[in-house]
Amino acid sequence: MGNVTRSSGEGGFVPPSSADFELPPIFGDNAYTTKPIFLVFLSIILISVFFILASRRAAIVPSKLQFAGESIYSFVRNDLARDVIGHDFLRFVPYLFTLFTFILVNNLFGIIPLLQFPTMSRVSFPYVLAVTIYLVFHYVGIRKQGAIKYFKEIMFMPGVPKAAYILITPLEILTFFVVRPATLALRLFANMFAGHLLLLVFILGGEHLLQGVIGLKLISPFAFIIGIALTFFEFMVQCLQAYIFTLLAALYIAGALADEH
């Protein structure tokens, strides 16, 4: 919504930039009342209401709503948790399920009319999610194997020639403690950010063409058509990113649980 007012006007075309993602506070100058914050709360309400309605009056012959809710749940439970983590996966299902639905709904806000802002294109939200995963998979690993054995296996991979440790140990430490959480957050952020920017380019560009001379006006529908096509593409990317994020979270947990890495 914030972007609609910022159209090109009589000057040249102003290409959308990262400044388009810094939305002003809604209430006064309280910096905590920006649109992404409200979208997060909205997503929590939507998810809770949907799944409470879907699981209420559960029957053996499911209603349509119950079927929809259960298929999402069984997707996370079977395809993500069970196939990746293996036995003992059940205690991680609630966490992975929360992650998946939360990210999915927040991503989909990017293409839902009137909302049209993917919450995860503000980098702090993916950071927080990645920090929770970081804590979870290290905690799980330490609980399962004991702190000393866990860190020893990260730093000194068993079955590697002694001389290779000079190379492998720093890389492994970097991978486990920096690269994994950082890339997890940045992948989600970058995809949502770039996708939203892509849509802005075509929609705002089409709008700008519409204000030009008659020849440009004729071209502008093409920009809008591409914008609409990209919206469907974005839908695919948004679902895929929610899936990949949850899958990698499950993989990291599975890696911490495994006896040898």
């Binding site: 196939d83 990746v84 940045l186 992948r187 970058a190 990949i244 990698l248």
Partner: protein, 67 residues
């Protein structure tokens, strides 16, 4: 012309991870096509490799904005 050369650099830096991701998924698809029952074994490996390869592209993206 306005803008920053960082983005050109990021474009160049994304070539490598792009090819790498393509190779990883090509191998994964190949494997699943040859032996469909190996899918659940191959999937975590493929996605872990993909995550590692894409990490490089993400570093490029971050540096394009930070530098």
């Amino acid at each position: 012309m306005e803008g920053t050369l960082n983005l050109v650099g990021f474009g160049l830096a994304a070539i490598g991870p792009g090819i790498a991701t393509g190779l990883i998924f090509a191998a994964y698809i190949n494997g699943v096509a040859r032996q469909p029952e190996a899918r659940s074994v191959l999937q975590p490996i493929a996605f872990l490799g993909f995550a590692l390869a894409e990490a490089l592209a993400l570093f490029g993206l971050v540096l394009a904005f930070v530098l």
